[in-house]
Amino acid sequence: MAEAQNIPVGSTTAGQIAVAAESTVATRMSAPPSFDVQDFPVPHGREEEWRFTPLERLRGLHDGTAVATGDGVKVDIDAPEGVIVETVGRDDARIGKAGTPVDRVAAQAYSAFEKAGVVTVPKETVLTEPIRIAVHGEGGIAYGHQVVELGAFAEAVVIIDHTGDAVLAANVDYILGDGAKLTVVSVQDWDDKAVHVGQHNALIGRDATFKSFVVTFGGDLVRLHPRVAYAGTGGEAELFGLYFTDAGQHQEHRLLVDHNTPHCKSNVAYKGALQGQDAHAVWIGDVLIEAKAEGTDTYEMNRNLVLTDGARVDSVPNLEIETGEIVGAGHASATGRFDDEQLFYLMARGIPADEARRLVVRGFFAELVQQIGVDDIEERLLVKIDEELEASV
């Protein structure tokens, strides 16, 4: 079920389906998950989980030298009526419930934040307007933690919008009660110098539905861990991602879907476009089907479109299956090029060069953008994609 095709020079796509009694997803990490930064050695760059990341550009987030400044980020939350918005201390029981940090920077964020944000949608509350969390970088260093909790049968859309310039390590927990439906759009629309590292944990309740869009355009370095686990049977996760990696940018998305519960579904689809010298996108897609997770149905896919020479993609889907009693499991990764021959073909049909490029990239992203279902966000993403393309000409 793995496929790889049209790989531009300098890019890699590797994949494996392992049938194992012991989790290689867990053992590939250099330390077990922990909330304490001291439990993780300072990475030197050769560890499996760090080998693609330029450590020197983390601005000290990984080695303890980055100390929070007062002017890190400004967070504004705009929530419709019925939503409870709180700022809480470190000892609040809701913090860390959805997952444990898996690398040193996530643990650093957890160890260093002072106050956490908690947004609660009470049970059976169905929102018609999105909750908007604006995270604006003010140029400094910050650590943060945000919790979004939906009670049973609550429904909400949450937009987390990152703009400005900052060095930020922040984790987000999504906790979904039974039958809850949560759509999250996390937009990384940072200025060029920003560094953003974080772990997004979702814990999906019985029969609950989690839909996530991770959209990364900006930043010097963005490295996110979207992770999902299930708290009851019948849970569904759809993890979608878009990234547009420009010259010099490093954008890394490392996903894990842990099928730890029977009869749950997951569908992962990440798409990226790259252009310019030293644009580097990394996609790691780990799916683990534990022995007890009978009836699992999962598929993961990563597609990359390389628009110019000099860009690099590393794409690693990894599916690990500990039980054969499943509905389906598959993965795919492909990296293709938009090249002179494609340009010639479209132009030979009367289409001007800039429109040809726009056609290809818009078409590539359209199926994901259309699924967001929030008009102003969809429109903004399409405008952003056009802007990125214009910048390249």
């Binding site: 494609q342 132009m347 030979a348």
Partner: protein, 254 residues
């Protein structure tokens, strides 16, 4: 009446050990309503002629002129040539990931016609044209040429020919790799466009087989980078019986 005039066209390509001249003085005039078969052995430069006319960046024009209704084609960009009325049905159509056939066709028709076709009539037009080419409607939702069979690619090229209605159509080995059924379907498509009387057709082929379905007015033998003999449809019969050897072995005689 639209006329394509090719005069003394010389074209080179860059090869490993320098520059190689492929076209060595091509002269040809194609008028609206006429069909010219360009026949010749592999490597004679037929496809180079086709791609040079369309403006592929790989080819360098070193001398000569190409005029379409008096306008200088060689001074136009690739998309300008297409909008001026030139169409190249490619031997190896290119895969374009992420772009659906329907989106591609509409964008192209909008560019060529200068305005977006009215949606309702457009949908009907595409659907009917696809039906005549024995193409499944689901085809429109696939990505351009991605995973198409050889026959599907050629049908898709002729679908564009029918929808874009060029002044001059250059068909580069449209017959290659087609079985007899597919060849007939594709030829019928070409003939529908020819019957309008509004297109001049350059049919580039290695084989005479397609000429049973598409009757040329003129046949030109291409060898070593130029036209070495021209005649009527009967010249194709001679090629069928005698092959290209007479043109390649004893050196090209004009």
């Amino acid at each position: 009446m639209a006329t394509l005039e090719i005069r003394d066209l010389h074209v080179t390509v860059e090869v490993e050990n320098g520059t190689k001249e492929i076209l060595k003085g091509v002269d040809l005039t194609v008028k609206q309503g006429e069909t010219h078969a360009i026949m010749g052995p592999n490597g004679s430069g037929k496809s180079t002629l086709a791609y040079s006319l369309a403006g592929h960046p790989k080819y360098t024009i070193t001398s000569g002129t190409v005029l379409l209704d008096g306008e200088d084609v060689l001074g136009m960009s690739v998309d300008e040539r297409a909008r001026a009325g030139l169409f190249l049905a490619m031997q190896y159509p290119v895969e374009v990931p992420g772009v659906s056939v329907s989106n591609f066709l509409r964008t192209s028709a909008t560019a060529i016609r200068g305005e977006a076709p009215k949606l309702r009539t457009w949908v009907k037009e595409v659907k009917e044209t696809m039906q005549r080419l024995n193409m499944d409607p689901a085809f429109a939702e696939r990505n351009v040429n991605e995973g198409f069979s050889g026959g599907e690619k050629k049908r898709h090229e002729i679908l564009q020919l029918e929808l874009l209605k060029p002044k001059i159509a250059i068909l580069d080995e449209t017959d290659s790799g087609l079985d007899v059924d597919a060849l007939r379907v594709v030829s019928e498509g070409v003939n529908r466009v020819r019957e309008s009387g509004e297109v001049g057709t350059m049919l580039i082929t290695h084989y005479t087989r397609i000429l049973r379905y598409i009757k040329p007015d003129y046949v030109h033998v291409f060898s070593a980078g130029r036209i070495v003999e021209s005649g009527g449809a009967e010249l194709a019969d001679k090629l069928e019986n005698e092959g290209y050897e007479v043109y390649t072995k004893g050196g090209a005689s004009a």
